[in-house]
């Protein structure tokens, strides 16, 4: 009976209810999208392995490390495997086709990243071909590449044309793995640098090592950095997670702005929903007075108003959450080069639900207070 009354009251002013419901849906959708974008920013951090360390030039990432460091690092106690990679920054046909591309030590790189699933024969073919490259499944799909296709990157940091052959296509072990990267042989890059710019040859951007025990991070990091202390290229060794987090920190202000906008949206929809509930209850104040006359107490009246608010907000919230999935698919299509992983997380869904509950509660508070405190005689006096 009370449920019936609650539902009928919620949809009594159909247009107003639908507009509020739509507002809640849009707010929840926007909140979910913005939070997913923030999560996407942290995707690299989430995907980082606990037993992988990154060794970079202590001054800055823009300064490289001598290739000779590799053997010394490999000899440090606790280092199980080593590889290196260099940000290449090449462009495929046009700058708008941006994707991450690296020159890597082909023989060792894939072994360090088991999350990249590559068929063995393709992996071998990549290692054998000096001009071969490995591309992510997403990238291959985006440009229609297949194994054996010839592609050319235009160098930006390393000028010139760089013809490559797709030898392997990797798939991510799970959805959090970026499938929009390209890796090719550092040897290929280094050969040409030796010829055209010898001073830039024999350097790598960063070293990646796998350590035997995740608990030995501090000891191995200290040992590696001690090796090159007071050298021309001192190193900074950190976990892959800390390294990725460093990139995110650079955009902290933007992330903060996005988070603030997402909460401002919630604030606005709280005001809109509260306004709807206040108007709706004010119009029916004499009915609440009649209910009070019949003996309905504060708890039941509060339940009726809160329930009505919840019905509207829950319907809007459900619509918003349901809409988030197709919206993310569409968004992903346009921004996959910037955000390769754009999946809504369970945490975001939980936040969505909490937001809906909070909006429903806040929207109901003022009208509940008004209905509970208004004297019956005064409220009945509103009728003719």
């Amino acid at each position: 009976m009370m449920g019936k009354l609650l539902f009928r009251n919620a949809f009594r002013h159909t247009l107003r209810t639908l507009l509020t419901l739509f507002g809640v849906a849009v707010a929840v959708l926007a909140f979910g999208l913005l939070r997913t974008v923030v999560d996407a920013w942290y995707a690299g951090v989430s995907a980082a392995a606990a037993n992988r360390l990154i060794i970079r030039n202590a001054i800055s990432l823009t300064f490289f490390l001598p290739i000779a460091y590799g053997e010394k690092i490999r000899a440090v106690d606790g280092v199980q495997a080593l590889s290196h990679m260099t940000w290449f920054g090449g462009v495929y046909i046009d700058r708008k086709n941006f994707f991450a591309n690296f020159a890597v030590d082909a023989k060792t790189y894939l072994g360090l990243y088991p999350e990249f699933i590559v068929p063995e024969e393709q992996s071998d073919a990549f290692v054998r071909d000096r001009k071969g490259c490995v591309v992510g499944r997403g990238l291959a799909r985006r440009f229609g590449w297949q194994v054996g296709d010839a592609i050319t990157l235009q160098g930006t940091i390393f000028p010139g044309e760089w013809p490559l052959t797709v030898r392997a296509i990797y798939a991510g072990r799970d959805r959090s793995i970026d499938e929009n990267q390209l890796f090719f042989h550092w040897d290929y890059l280094n050969e040409r640098l030796k010829a055209v710019s010898p001073r830039r040859a024999n350097y790598a951007g960063i070293y990646v090592i796998r350590i035997a025990e995740a608990g030995a991070v501090a000891a191995v990091s200290a040992a590696v950095d001690a090796l090159f202390a007071n050298s021309l290229a001192e190193t900074l060794t950190e976990t892959e997670r800390a390294f990725q987090l460093g990139f995110v920190t650079m955009s902290e202000a933007i992330l903060m702005a996005i988070r603030m906008v997402s909460f401002i949206i919630i604030g606005i929809i709280m005001a809109v929903a509260a306004n709807t509930m206040i108007m709706s209850v004010r119009e029916r104040m004499h009915e609440f007075a009649v209910l009070k006359t019949l003996g309905f107490g504060a708890f039941r009246l509060g339940g009726l108003i809160a329930g009505e608010s919840f019905v509207i907000c829950a319907a809007g919230g459900a619509l918003g959450i349901a809409g988030t999935f197709p919206a993310l698919r569409i968004m992903s299509h346009y921004v996959s080069n910037v955000f390769p992983v754009l999946d809504i997380t369970t945490a975001t869904l939980v936040y969505d639900v909490l937001v809906v509950l909070a909006v429903a509660l806040v929207a109901a508070l003022f009208p509940i207070r008004r209905v509970v405190t208004v004297p019956i005689v005064a409220a009945l006096g509103r009728v003719g």
Binding site: M1, R8, E287, V290, L291, L294, G295, R300, V377, L380
Partner: protein, 238 residues
């Protein structure tokens, strides 16, 4: 008041005033009154005489400045808001001038509404609602919404809602004020039956001398003071 019946409402030196800014407007001044169980009392008086205020105080809808109201042995003027709400749910049935039915509920559901506050099972509630709708002769209109009923039918639904919990008191504020003559007559007959045949105590505020004639007792209020019985008799011609 008939002396062989127990007193159900006892009012002693009841005063009430309203404030309008700094101005204090007295509405009731030292009212004392007793109403017997099963009595049908009409409260009459000009606009602003305080009759609706007195009805509100008897029904526990408002608080007096001083004096006491005792209904069925309970001094309701001393009850808290929560206790008063619970008391109203059990002891008072209301009939308003403008019916005050909930427009999104059917006649059946409107009558069922006060029973939601009781411990009755759903089946028992439905039986009770069907019984009172039958009593007000609206069993065939139970699925109609208030907007689909005439004024007289709506008021009969309101009466059914007022009696469905079998209350001690039925209070009616101008129950015929918004009805045509035929519908008003039907409502008055119904209230009279509730008092005479079912022993309900009915207190009715009315302007209408014709309505007052149905009552067993008529009390007159003027400027917040209760006149003695018979001071303002109802003209026989009406």
């Amino acid at each position: 008041m008939s002396t062989d019946r127990p007193v159900v409402v006892e009012i002693r030196r009841l005063s009430k005033s309203y404030r309008r800014g700094v101005q204090v407007i007295p509405v009731l001044e030292g009212i004392s009154l007793t109403i017997a169980a099963g009595e049908f009392l009409a409260l009459m008086g000009p606009s602003g005489s305080g009759k609706s205020t007195l009805l509100n105080l008897i029904a526990g809808l408002d608080r007096a400045d001083s004096g006491t109201v005792t209904v069925g042995g309970i001094e309701i003027s001393a009850l808290s808001e929560t206790a008063l709400a619970a008391w109203r749910a059990v002891h008072v049935g209301f009939v308003f001038q403008f019916y005050n039915l909930i427009p999104v509920l059917t006649a059946f559901e409107n009558v069922e509404l006060p029973l939601v506050l009781t411990d009755l099972s759903r089946r028992r509630r439905r039986e009770q609602v069907a019984m009172v709708l039958n009593l007000v002769n609206l069993q065939d209109r139970s699925d109609h919404y208030p907007g689909q009923l005439s004024g007289g039918q709506q008021q009969r639904v309101a009466i059914a809602r007022a009696i469905v919990t079998d209350p001690t008191l039925i209070v009616a504020d101008e129950p015929t004020g918004d009805l045509d003559r035929v519908s008003a007559e039907e409502v008055l007959v119904l209230l009279e039956r509730l008092s005479r045949e079912m022993g309900k105590t009915v207190i009715m505020v009315t302007h209408d001398p014709r309505a007052a004639r149905r009552a067993e007792t008529v009390k007159h209020l003027d400027k917040g003071i209760l006149a003695h019985d018979g001071e303002a008799p109802v003209p026989e011609c009406l």
